[in-house]
């Protein structure tokens, strides 16, 4: 397991919002984290990134990345992990980019922050853009000039260029059209297969999760109520929450590819 989470608890004062006994992602694997809004999925992302304190939450438990215990790292050490080893993409790509910076500016700064020279950064950015099937010239644009799908792909390109080992994808397709969604999902598959990335795919849409992920974990009230290979969870759910989520999907085709 590249990323393994054990006994993770995230709380706001007395209120506990996340209680994960065990969750792991192996190399070259996409694990889905499904559940209703408010089930604690997004807080898990923040916790893994070590940013829970920015919204005032406390974290306890273990988060290990390739043997390194992340919860024991100082903020400075954690800053080196963020971006370069663990990357994240968010739900609303239009809001995730600072509107007064050119998209490429953020990309370049991030790459240089993690040690690349100016030339290396430009190179890596251009290559990553092409990998996500975008022209590198789009980096000169402002976020308002790019579509949601394009912005999401730029975010993925950023993760690629940074050579992250783990990608936390928090509802990356929820704000996109179905056709654009399919492209993004395809990109995520490529990340798994070609770059051997570990991807945590968070979504409330079980249909998308079932289509993309190798393994699925169902979250409810902050805890994981069911976990296992996608085909198993989808065809034979054991928990009532999983069953409910499945029932909410109009027509599910378990295990079928596109």
């Amino acid at each position: 397991m590249r990323l393994s989470i054990t006994g993770l608890q995230v709380s706001f004062g007395e209120q506990r919002v996340v209680r994960i006994a065990e969750l792991g992602i192996a190399e070259a694997e996409i694990v889905g984290l499904a559940g209703d809004s408010g089930s604690g999925k997004s807080m898990t992302t923040l916790a893994v990134l070590g940013l829970a304190h920015t919204v005032g939450a406390r974290v306890s438990g273990s988060i290990r990345l390739d043997g390194t215990e992340l919860t024991k790292l100082s903020q400075r050490e954690m800053r080196e992990v963020r971006g370069s080893r663990i990357a994240a993409i968010f739900q609303s790509p239009a809001m995730a980019f600072n509107p007064v910076f050119r998209v490429g500016s953020v990309v370049h700064r991030a790459l240089r922050l993690h040690g690349m020279s100016r030339a290396q950064a430009a190179d890596a950015a251009a290559r990553a853009m092409r990998q996500v099937l975008l022209s590198p010239s789009l980096l000169d644009r402002y976020p308002s000039q790019l579509s949601g799908g394009q912005l999401q792909r730029v975010a993925i390109a950023l993760a690629l260029a940074l050579r992250a080992e783990v990608l936390l994808a928090d509802e990356p397709t929820s704000a996109l059209d179905v056709t654009v969604q399919a492209e993004v999902l395809e990109l995520l598959r490529e990340l798994r297969d070609r770059e051997r990335m570990s991807v945590l795919f968070i979504s409330h849409d079980l249909a998308v999760v079932a289509e993309l992920c190798d393994r699925v974990a169902i979250m409810a009230d902050g805890a994981i109520v069911e976990q296992g290979p996608t085909s198993q969870v989808v065809t034979a759910p054991r928990s009532p929450q999983a069953a409910e989520l499945l029932a909410a999907v109009p027509r599910l085709q378990p295990g079928a590819g596109r």
Partner: protein, 338 residues
């Protein structure tokens, strides 16, 4: 972008025209009959009528307005009663000193306010934040003329730290006379290598500039704090954190850039406001700028001079706002891409 610039310039021109009209209206709001005042209390009816013809007051208001307008545009801003010189040339002499003073004050204010605002936003609610907030409100609540008097008393008369008044030490008039090239002392002195004069002007500028800087500093601190705090809830802040940027970059570079726009607008506002505040400060420090000119004009009820200063400052204000608008559009693409 050029379309935006053209539109804004056209709008500014329209406002300028309106400003001139409004000044005309104010000039003619004077109660009583200007012709009778001009002719004097012992004038006969015929003399008053002649005065009216002479002053052009017998023409229809529209014609009067047009000739006033024309006068303004061709540089005829009337004759100042207390100096017997054309108002425009009086302004040309007095304006640079005030512009220098206000610019210095704005720089002081920015240097102080932006970091304080950022600190305040970084640790909101804590003791430091409360102190900075109270301090900034103190800045915007300060009666400037009172602050000037107190500072003058404390720093010059009691502590003898800084010069009392004037633009430079009077002795230097003889030893190192300043050749005026641009009218701006702080530019002319270095240009002619007159360093003693430069130093003297700076020393004399400190107190009035600090006093004038109080309001802008308070305002900008509050603005930066509010804008940065406002931004912090946005998704892009978390994204940048998730990329590994430290809090200093998150605040200082990413959040702050978004805040520049409203801060710039505030700067334009305070520039105009501060230019008027010179009226309250310059006389106290004997700083030979628009403020002293206006104070003298008020004391002698010199209406042409006062209206001249009013018009001048309004025009400067419009220009400053225009420049800031254009800078805003350059920084924030959302404005010009609309």
């Amino acid at each position: 972008m050029t379309v935006y610039v053209a539109r804004r310039v056209a709008l500014a021109a329209l406002v300028v025209a309106g400003v001139i009209v409004l000044t005309f209206v104010i000039a003619h709001v004077v109660p009583g009959d200007p012709a009778a005042t001009w002719a004097g209390p012992h004038a006969s009816a015929a003399q008053v009528a002649a005065a009216r013809r002479y002053l052009g007051l017998d023409r229809p208001p529209a014609v009067q307005l047009l000739s006033y307008f024309g006068g303004i545009l061709t540089g005829n801003w009337g004759i100042a009663i207390h100096t017997h010189r054309p108002v425009l040339s009086d302004l040309a002499v007095a304006a640079p000193a005030s512009l220098e003073l206000v610019t210095a004050a704005m720089i002081i204010a920015l240097v102080v306010a932006v970091p304080l605002g950022l600190i305040s936003a970084r640790w909101p609610g804590r003791a430091g934040d409360q102190v900075i907030r109270a301090g900034s409100i103190l800045g915007v609540s300060m009666p400037i003329f009172w602050m000037a008097l107190i500072f003058q008393l404390v720093f010059t008369q009691r502590l003898h730290l800084l010069p009392v008044a004037g633009e430079y030490s009077p002795n230097l008039l003889f030893t190192h006379p300043l050749t005026r090239l641009t009218g701006f002392g702080l530019i002319d002195a270095p240009l002619t290598g007159n360093w003693p004069m430069f130093g003297s002007i700076c020393a004399h500028m400190v107190l009035p500039a600090v006093v004038i800087a109080a309001y802008p500093a308070g305002l900008i601190t509050r603005m930066v704090r509010a804008q940065v705090l406002d931004t912090l809830g946005d998704a892009h802040v978390q994204m940048v954190r998730a990329l590994g940027f430290g809090e200093r970059a998150v605040f200082g570079r990413f959040a702050m850039k978004l805040s520049w726009n409203p801060v710039l607008a505030a700067i334009a506002l305070v520039f105009g406001y501060s230019l008027v505040n010179t009226f309250l400060v310059e006389a106290i420090f004997d700083w030979p700028g628009l403020g002293s000119y206006a104070t003298d004009a008020i004391a002698t009820l010199d209406t042409p001079a006062i209206l001249g200063v009013t018009l001048f400052i309004a025009l400067v204000y419009v220009v400053v706002n225009l420049i800031v608008d254009l800078i805003q559009a350059a920084i924030d693409p959302r404005i010009r891409l609309r």
